[in-house]
Amino acid sequence: MSDQITTDPSKPAQRMRAGSMTLTLGPWIVAAILLAALPFIFTSNSGLTIMNQMWITVVFALAYNMLLGQGGMLSFGHAVYAGVGGFACMHIMNASDFFASMPLPLLPIFGGLFGMGLALIVGAFSTRSAGTVFAMISLGVGELIAACSVIIVAFFGGEEGISGDRGEALPFFGLNFWSQIEVYYLTAFWVFISAVLMYLWSRTPVGRMANAVRDNPERAEFLGYSSRWVRFYSFVASGFFAGVAGGLFAINYEILTEENLNAASSGVILLVTFLGGVGFFFGPILGAIVFTLVQTVLSLETELWAFYAGSLFVATVMFFPGGLAGLIMMHVPPLRLGKLGVLTVPYIKTLIPAAIGILGLCSLVEMTFHYRHAATGDHEMTLFWTTFDSHTILPWIIAGAVTLIGLGIARTTAPALKEAWNDANTAGGKR
């Protein structure tokens, strides 16, 4: 690579390329350091569990985005490939002789191979076209295999699933992976490798053509590429990495059930990927982190976490179709123009009242829920470190007022924000 980083100012192409090399390496180094350092910050076992879950979701969401974002294929049944990869890993764990001769860190590869194997079979007929046909086949196959879980009990273990013990693997440099921290580093290693490989995939000829086929399958055909084969390769690669995610799940939880491959899980990964943003490589990573936090941390605070996650998803689809990543990348043009500062004050004026208003709205939702669903006679509830009686009128008035005032202020300051936004996106201008 070194021979290409030489910069010749008369050749813009080369200058660009040298620049993008440094740009692309930086985030990976930061990510590697973060992955290695996070257990020193969040030392508790629950912290490690949450992070493991996060990284598994990252691998899965990135694999899913190879289809959705990069290949333009909307799948409603992608949990199947992760699930089958995971189940295969559980069976390997239970094949004691073989498992005892294999170090545990290799297990996700087998998960990947089984996920890929299934994707080879399904992809052979499902990738003929994208769009509705592909979506419907993915849904059908997903339901079919989820239904098999109660029929083919030998593989899927019926209702109780398949469980095993990761500790029976061949010790890896003396590690038995009994403790959570050892599993964390195994997971972190694989999430890093998978993310790098998936990123590199997107830079290969077949990865670039996946984008081309997504944008305009017909034109791609007239450039010598069969849209179907391009889709097929993306699908198989995506199945592999989904299987890796399944294998990591098997290692972490030592049990797989029907829940790992049903339509609900497939729906969640679509939600995660879209929330993060399908248009950028790092979008699904963001989505996985945010969603896992909502799912784990928020679910400790409220029973209604799924309601909030759903609202967040709907809001994303409606107002920010680019997802969180799109939202962040919207700020690149103002940054390039050096006018990000123009936005600071309007942001504070609008977003803080809006956040307070939304919290007020959430309070109303929580109070309604408590009023309707708490045990009879239990009138006391705690919200934002305040304990009060949900059957008296005062808390309702306060929450209602906070909501109205917060959202009201946000509404009056929104035009100024819009103006500032336009200003920040225009070169020159007033300053």
Binding site: T204, R208, M209, N211, A220, E221, V230, Y233
Partner: protein, 253 residues
């Protein structure tokens, strides 16, 4: 005479009962610039779509350098050295201009479906794509999303994508449709430049472009070729004047 670059024999196409192409025999020599003209609805675009296998012909054969193309898919025909543009701009709007051209180079440079090469690391790809961009004067627009280009620039990009793969038979479907005079001149010069030494088959309405570019002209009326020949012969042909120019006059009035 050597094998023609493109040879059509008894080509017909019906959509249900409607016969759109009614038996076309046409032979286009190597390095010839051939224009197909005719009134609206004569079947010019359908003919293009038959040659490039976007539609399957009802009967008849298409031969490229003497090789029968029957039953081949568009991507297979493209690999044999026939490339086309579209009447309606057909590019990859979300990708950058540079990437549009680079995608067009991938198969021609032998990358196929490889996932062990990184496109950024191939100097041949980058330089090849930049050379094409330079040829079509879009180098200053290199890193913009293709969808943001002006109409004329998108048409130029379309031509760039079409020629990038190095195909020796180039088919352009109304390359100057919807363009102003200066844009038309720009595209005409561009076509002359980039199809040097190649076989060019184009559908075109602008007679200035046709008579400026074409070595030979075929006139297509109601699915049949009523005349083929040198521009001046075609212009003087009474059948052409009656069928084509008459229809054109009707359209105007």
């Amino acid at each position: 005479m050597s094998t023609p670059a493109l040879e059509l024999t008894g080509l017909t196409k019906s959509f249900g009962k409607a016969e759109i192409i009614r038996g076309i025999d046409l032979s286009i020599g190597k390095a010839e610039r051939h224009a197909i003209i005719g009134p609206n609805g004569a079947g010019k675009s359908t003919l293009f779509n038959l040659i490039t296998a976007r539609f399957a012909p009802t009967s008849g054969t298409v031969k490229l350098h003497g090789e029968d193309l029957t039953g081949l898919q568009p991507f297979q025909i493209n690999r044999k050295g026939l490339s086309r543009s579209f009447q309606i701009t057909n590019i990859f709007p979300k990708m950058t201009v540079f990437e549009n051209v680079r995608c067009a180079l991938l198969w021609a440079q032998g990358y196929k479906y490889s996932f062990w090469n990184l496109v950024e690391r191939s100097r041949r790809l980058t330089e090849g794509a930049d050379a094409i961009l330079d040829q079509i004067n879009l180098l200053p627009r290199r890193d913009l999303p293709a969808g943001m280009l002006s109409y004329a620039e998108q048409r130029a990009l379309e031509i760039g994508i079409t020629i990038a793969g190095g195909a020796d038979v180039i088919m352009l479907d109304e390359p100057t449709a919807g363009m102003s005079h200066s844009e038309t001149d720009y595209i005409t010069d561009l076509i002359l430049k980039v199809t040097e030494g190649k076989t060019l088959i184009m559908v075109e309405h602008d007679m200035g472009v046709v008579f400026g570019l074409a070595d030979r002209i075929s006139v297509l009326v109601y699915g049949e070729i009523i005349a083929t020949g040198k521009p001046e012969d075609v212009r003087g042909d009474p059948k052409v004047q009656e069928a084509y120019l008459g229809a054109a006059l009707e359209e105007e009035h």
